[in-house]
Symmetry: D2
Subunit: 400 residues, 4 copies
């Protein structure tokens, strides 16, 4: 007999996004609709477009589409490339996979560097391709900064270096959907041409909005890019954006939320936000180690501070485990996707979260492993607490 899910108390939404929307942002969105052609809206909108730049660490425009991140992927390709253009992508997991499928559908010539879904982008593999491309046929390199499916984070600056070392003019396109406002990211300093993000992860908003930071070089290139586009045309946006307007009705309530999200991130300070994510991730990884389970990310160089993907021991179903945890402990864990379906489960530790929430989440995992009869050692929660105490001691010492 199927058990009625346990629904008292706050649900622990520990998927790697959409992340829980903090109360401040929820409230900010319960605000009457504004005339999107008014001066009041224009003032509001110009402020947001300016403040968004800080998040991407760029001085150049950030474009906001009233569409989820997948839409911004499409825009990144159609605004910079033409049919048949060659683009190099690296297989980090489900999301790099979907992006390259999209690229192929749009008529691009994709070179997809295969890998095992257990590391981030191997910049040397990219470097090799670039070096070999004497004719500069490669028009763009597109990578996923933080692969949400595997919990592997890619060294963007290394990829930039590979481009620079070979003097290769290809554009660098980066998906930061699950990394922005979680781990450090520097659009300008790292020489990224197009950075794509979504609202529903580190930015703590509901899904429905995407952001694209665009370098001057990308803008220049966009003038001659031939792939058809309309809704996702950068050009159509950038014109009206100058006065705080949009070519079609913007997602006003999400923009209300964005204003509050930016305020929250600013109050905490971006560096503190990154440090918090690093601390929480360290706690989760300490728990995984203590349990004797295996991190899907097999090389510490690539550990993600936003999400950890955990391999289920052979013969055990990750999906059955997640179901048991949901029914018994009112927590949603992330599913394994595609190649790793049923083989991993994921713990999101990104967005508006903190130590005690993560301890509760790890407690749910630890109890669930036991109830599901999954071989593991006890002590995961204790290990995470030990980690968090270390951080607290350092912070106390600093404050003293």
């Amino acid at each position: 007999m199927s058990k009625k899910p346990n629904r008292a108390g706050r649900h622990f939404l520990q998927i790697p996004g959409p992340t829980p929307v903090p109360s401040r942002i929820e409230r900010a969105m319960v605000r009457p609709i504004m005339d999107h052609r008014s001066q009041e809206f224009s003032d509001f909108s110009l402020r947001l477009l300016e403040e968004l730049k800080v998040l991407f660490k760029t001085k150049h425009p950030v474009i906001m589409f009233p569409a989820s991140g997948t839409g911004a992927w499409e825009a990144a390709l159609t605004n910079t490339l033409s049919a048949g253009d060659k683009i190099v992508m690296f297989e980090t997991g489900q999301f790099s996979m979907l992006w390259q499928v999209m690229a192929k559908r749009l008529g691009l010539n994709v070179e997809y560097i295969e890998s095992d879904w257990r590391i981030g982008v191997d910049s040397s593999a990219i470097a090799e391709r670039l070096k070999a491309d004497k004719a500069h046929e490669i028009k763009a390199v597109a990578i996923v900064h933080n692969e949400t499916a595997t919990g592997c984070c890619s060294p963007v600056a290394e990829v930039r270096k590979a481009l620079d070392d070979t003097g290769h003019p290809a554009l660098l396109l980066v998906d930061t959907i699950s990394s922005l406002a979680c781990v450090d990211y520097q659009h300008d300093a790292w020489g990224v041409d197009v950075t794509v993000c979504g609202s529903q992860k580190g930015m703590m908003l509901p899904p429905g909005l995407s952001f694209t930071a665009v370098s001057p070089k990308a803008l220049e290139v966009s003038k001659s890019a031939k792939l058809p586009k309309a809704f996702f045309s950068w050009d159509d946006m950038l014109g009206p954006n100058e006065k705080g307007f949009y070519p079609y009705t913007p997602a006003i309530t999400l923009m209300y939320g964005l204003e509050e999200a930016l305020k929250m991130l600013h109050e905490e300070g971006l560096d503190n936000v990154f440090a918090r994510h690093a601390k929480l991730a360290a706690g989760v990884r300490a728990a995984v180690d203590a349990w004797g389970l295996e991190n899907q990310c097999r090389d510490g160089k690539y550990y993600s501070n936003a999400v950890t993907s955990i391999r289920m021991p052979d013969g055990h179903s990750a999906d059955a485990f997640r179901k048991l945890v949901l029914e018994n402990f009112n927590m949603s864990l992330g599913a394994g996707l595609s190649k790793v379906a049923d083989k991993v489960f994921r713990i999101g530790h990104l967005g508006d979260t903190n130590e005690l929430t993560i301890i509760g989440a790890l407690g749910g995992v630890e109890m669930g492993l036991d109830l599901a009869g999954v071989p593991h050692r006890a002590g995961g929660v204790d290990a995470a607490m030990a980690e968090f105490k270390k951080y607290a001691q350092v912070e106390q010492a600093k404050a003293a």
Copy 2:
């Protein structure tokens, strides 16, 4: 010296959309984010997709993109047509204009039947084109049901009849962004192939969601349509939709709102919703007549029950008038767009509204005309009240 806008009390948002979000829907959206890959979400989503059909009066699928209506326009074209295909469109106003610009950008061969922005679609003009097209080169006819810029409503069934009378196989694409849930619309009975709508007008939601009803014929045609598409691919949606899922993160909070919107429309009853819009529009038109001002819609056949566009007497600026009304009476009126910029102002009377709100709005217009020195007769509000009283008497007689 510029006057500080008067901001006490409820703002009268009388633009023709986004419309005021009713409290019930606002509340429905302040709900914690759900795991979009869970059974709970799937159940919720399947229910919505089913109930949406009632609104379009269709038995066939309705597709929901996490993007504003403009995105659904693009999807309607890219999923049914191939580069160079011929499409006939009719100039009803700004929105028919933008749609045909998009069609051209996407590489279609657009025949745009020009008109004066003062009527809806002239079905005889369409019929003529179809009759002339013996070779059936025309692949689609695309029209705007309710032209938001002018307050002209088009006779969709007549256009269908024109297709039927000539036995023409072209698809019929209709934009109902500002008409659905305001005036009667029958996707199946009228033989429409693609109906496009947005969330932010008659559906009373914030902007950010679009809806597309698709006929079996359109689905069939979509299999061979060659225009590139990815984010807006119907196919990618329809597969996962069968189980209540989506190819990328859906706009969850707007879906929470949609559930409540559908509940509200169902509670009132669609026929009552249409009757209410008819009554409110009659009141507004009575006021315009009483003032001696001119309706932008010059033929009563095409009057819109969702929005009325009013021509400003020569020598008077509609925008200055709107500014005066905003500053003095805390009301936003719709601006004239493009060809009629500064020449008309628009009163939205669609979505979650009622007699007293419209009386307040008309009062603001009448006082504003006076303050702005615009030549007009008094008595607009009185005329609207007379109209509303007639309706009330009829309703009372029925209830007796």
Copy 3:
């Protein structure tokens, strides 16, 4: 057959309180509960207690009970008086009546000066009593500033003068439940000893909170007042209040709302708030005059800027009229209470409201009078608009 109420669009809540809670305040209250013994709460609470003083125009403490205004009435009596003490009250209407009933129940010796519910306090009648009271047996004079039941406003400063002219030491107690933040009120300058208010009228909050401004003299007297009290003890409040705390759990969410309400009143400016109420009331009275109906307040000296009570012509039921208006036009009007039950209806024009809302409300009344067959002249709405235009012209001239 009873008609199903018409519920589309925003309900017009035109009762004289509780008044509609503005969106900003609604949002402010959707905030997680705070530990009411924390430093954070103390800081928050001290700020509120300070800012409240501005509203009462006092430099002395304002006490906040988590109870509706009736509770603050009780506190005003039990903290200043002892069993058998003589108190003079004036019959302005239902609320003066209820207050004197309470005083009697609590064992006070009430002298209730009768009147006809059609004027505010007649200060000469009070003066007469005071002059006659050579022995100073009268311990307090208690009056209702704005009688919500009749729309009559009392001249508080005149009553003060009557006390001063006779050198009478009686305390002056004033109920401002439906006047504070609507019409000017000066606790200190008018020498009021106890001012009682509630949250749900001019302060735009939900009901559940009451406020009491207390003069040094009242505080002094309270030390020897013998009526039993516990929950409503000022003393128990004032001690903890000094540090921002309360003797029992405070109504935290209403306090969140209060913070926002004070911010809104401050942004508009109290003088502008009063001017707005004066303007709206002038419009309503102009409509009543135009209809040829009679204001329950029979002397212009006492007109209330917060509520207007309108006498129904003989042979017509005010309650039937209100029901018709509710069912046809989705508006709640205030009922006649007690002595004037079914004989008057009331229009609230207080709190967060504006011209267009009042025009809509008056439109509903005018149409309702017609539908109900109540003898009246047309033109009420027109008269209100004429009034509002005059104000707008004056404001424009000032701004020029």
Copy 4:
């Protein structure tokens, strides 16, 4: 240097009330104000008054004051007793203490049975007093069911038995402010005459509303009770309540929340609610044991399932500890009050909460003990998890 509190993520509000308001209830309260004299309100209110009875397990009226629980205490005394009446109370802690202070202030002759704040009511001590009172001078026995200050729960049925065994006619008054909807409570079956509750604990609402269940005997006695009362008069409430109305403006928004709270409690089922509280409390006590700390409640018979009060080892400040936990881990713990100020800290585990939240909270305590250098053993969180797993296994076995 003082450390800036850590404010990211959800605050853990683990005080024993006010408890976190669940999102469903927050949303329910963001609803426009209703006319409190309308038929719609009456219907709504009658439904609530009826459903409240289920919570108290009574067939008799439940009275709702728009005031916090302290007000209902006062009502319980003033509606049943006269000056000089003898009342027996038992010292369970801060709240029994405050209630007896109130009783004395109101002129009652209080016999306060002293105890050490480490047990609930000792029914044998009560029985002794009753037996000795041959003349039936004792008019009432008043006890606190769950002493929020100490985490001791009293055996109400035993006290009833003591009354029955001696055939004593005294009324039985019980404060259930922190127990109702947390642990089983049976107003009728246990022969309680007056049960007092507040909104902000097990009922999951913000503070500001109190509830009083009244037996027929108490109602009868109230007719001759002489203590003065007005705001808190039962009689004034019961009359209008019959038609769903109130003698003064009710706290409408809290009533909206109450409707949703009752719905939630009903959906979960009261027995499941009690079982959940029992489970969570067992987990917390297991943690306290594991840490080697001492429960303020020294006898297991009296353990509270709503709150646990934990004694700080000598030489350590509970308040400094709580401050450290707040600053480092964003959690509010309950303070020790009065006699146990700075000597205990309290963990609330009542209202809308669940295992993972409690694990997070215990994790914060465990880390805090370490950081504060408080002598203790590790393993508290582990012990709680072991407890929760046992419950989960039992539930799974049942479901199988």
